[in-house]
């Protein structure tokens, strides 16, 4: 999995691509934790490049969400593909990780 970082209007955008699974999830979680620790608790994870996400990926997003909220921020996800949406819906986690259609929408709606 590739992770690229950028910033828009005070929100850190983490753009990901590849497979979000047991191998890459710890790296993603660490990146989110570092971002929050650096004083940026408002994070958008752009999932548009993710081909596949498993439960470890979900675990990393949930963990990241908790970390961000503890720092009075939030974690939003943008542009998930069909497989990711299915996993989110099946686990009811779309209730706390509501998918935004695009990064713009996620950032604007803050």
């Amino acid at each position: 999995m590739q992770i690229e970082q950028s910033e828009r209007e005070g929100v850190v955008v983490l753009t990901t691509s590849g497979r979000f699974n047991m191998v890459s999830a710890p790296r993603m979680k660490a990146r989110i934790d570092e971002t929050v620790a650096a004083g940026n608790p408002r994070i958008v994870v752009d999932l548009s490049g993710i081909e596949f996400m498993d439960s470890s990926g979900l675990g990393a997003l949930i963990g990241g969400l908790k970390t961000a909220r503890q720092a009075s921020g939030d974690l939003r996800i943008a542009a998930p593909g069909e497989q990711v949406v299915t996993v989110l819906r099946l686990t009811n986690l779309d209730r706390i990780l509501r998918p935004y259609a695009s990064v713009e929408e996620a950032v604007n709606g803050w």
């Binding site: 047991m22 979680k29 439960s55 470890s56 979900l58 675990g59 990393a60 949930i62 963990g63 908790k66 299915t86 099946l90 686990t91 009811n92 986690l93 209730r95 706390i96």
Partner: protein, 398 residues
């Protein structure tokens, strides 16, 4: 010298410890291969091996160089120098085997192709010396320096950690098996069956059932802890114990909340969560209630309908304080409840497709055990590295 072959109690324990590693006759593994390759490079010897000493043979688990026995082969223990290296705690070093009078009668000396041998004993997690990491050269060599001795010991320590990791996974698998219920409640007019097949590494799946004495309801649960290994198995054990203990005294949703509250800290700490499907039914009339905590793969299939039992509750560990409200249902005569783990989702793609497979199995077999077995077979060996777990609860027609 202690622990010569031949049946002392400690030798029996030692042999048991070797076998408990479940590495004898196993194929090569990169986690060991990389250590012997590295040792070959560091010490500049033609052959390095990880040898395990069974009762009467030496099994080569990993080897770099092809001179003295390829990986995954065995030779008689009498022809093994590692078998002697494990008799002490220190590295056994023989700089010039051919001229050393102490070794003149040994079969390896007589065979003549080994000039130098150094073997650092390897310990199993319980402390038994179960093999050695050995360096072998065709020609004699100078003795290892103090620094080289320490380096060889470090590499042996690395192998020992790999041995322990494998043992931990094995213990996790055993723990996971023990979480499963052993008996099936005897319920006239009902059949129940459950299976949990572990695929590869240990996962955190389990299922359980119990009769709640004060209401007469039967409670069934299937849960999947995100993660692998001993950690996931231990979390599963905790969840099962809390849920079993609290359920006889509490409503379904209160019991789920109790598990979620008690486990939240542990789950947050290791970044895990649990999908959990719990159901209670009254065997007298089929009245049913269920909580779907993000599990999503439970189906009610019968002559008149085939539906997914969905809910909107969060998995445990995702966010505290979800109400985990139960939803009402009824299992009618001739209908069955099928709860599956997400290993099935890996194989079949989406829940609708899983439902189709469940319907087909239900139409082919007409007993709960047969249906569970058919569904497990449909998933095993396919595109999943996840556990495959299933519970079938069937209410007989009429």
């Amino acid at each position: 010298m202690a622990a010569m072959p031949g049946g002392s109690a400690s030798e029996e324990e030692r042999v048991a410890a070797v076998r408990d590693l479940h590495l004898l006759d196993s194929p090569p593994e990169e986690r060991f291969d990389r250590v012997v390759r590295l040792a070959q490079h560091i010490f500049d010897v033609p052959y390095v091996a990880v040898n395990l000493i069974d009762e009467d043979r030496q099994f080569t688990k990993a080897a770099a160089g092809d001179r003295f026995g390829p990986p995954s082969t065995s030779k008689p223990r009498a022809e093994s120098l590692c078998s002697i290296a494990i008799q002490g705690d220190r590295t056994l070093e023989i700089p010039d085997l051919r001229t050393d009078p102490a070794w003149a009668g040994h079969p390896v000396t007589q065979e003549g192709s080994v000039g130098y041998y150094a073997g650092a004993p390897l310990r199993a997690p319980g402390g038994h010396r179960i093999g050695a990491l050995c360096l072998v050269d065709v020609a004699p060599r100078r003795e290892l320096s103090v620094g080289e001795q320490a380096m060889l010991r470090d590499l042996a320590g690395w192998v020992e950690r790999e041995l322990a990791t494998g043992a931990e996974l094995e213990q996790g698998a055993e723990l996971q098996r023990r979480l499963l219920p052993r008996g099936i409640p005897d319920l006239p007019g009902w059949e129940m069956a459950g299976q949990c097949e572990q695929a590869g590494a240990v996962g955190g799946d389990f299922y359980d059932w119990q009769v709640l004495r004060n209401t007469g309801q039967v409670q069934v649960v299937l849960a999947d802890v995100m993660g692998k290994g001993l950690q996931a198995a231990l979390l599963a054990a905790g969840i099962r114990a809390i849920f079993r203990g609290t359920s006889p005294h509490n409503t379904l949703s209160a019991s789920v909340r109790r598990v979620a509250d008690d486990m939240d800290e542990d789950l947050t700490e290791i970044g895990s969560f649990v999908t959990f499907f719990a159901v209670r039914f009254d065997p007298a009339d089929g009245t049913t209630e269920y909580v779907d905590a993000g599990h999503g793969l439970a189906f009610l299939v019968g002559p008149d309908r085939a539906v997914r039992l969905s809910g909107d509750s969060l998995p445990l560990g995702a966010a505290p304080g979800d109400p985990w409200e139960p939803r009402p249902e009824r299992i009618s005569p001739g209908e069955m409840l099928v709860i599956l783990s997400d290993g099935f989702l890996d194989v079949h793609g989406d829940p609708d497709r899983v439902l189709e497979v469940v319907r087909a199995a239900a139409a082919t077999d007409n007993d709960a055990t047969g249906i569970a077995s058919r569904l497990v077979r449909s998933a095993l060996g396919r595109l999943t590295t996840d556990d495959v777990t299933i519970v079938v609860v069937r209410r007989l027609a009429g």
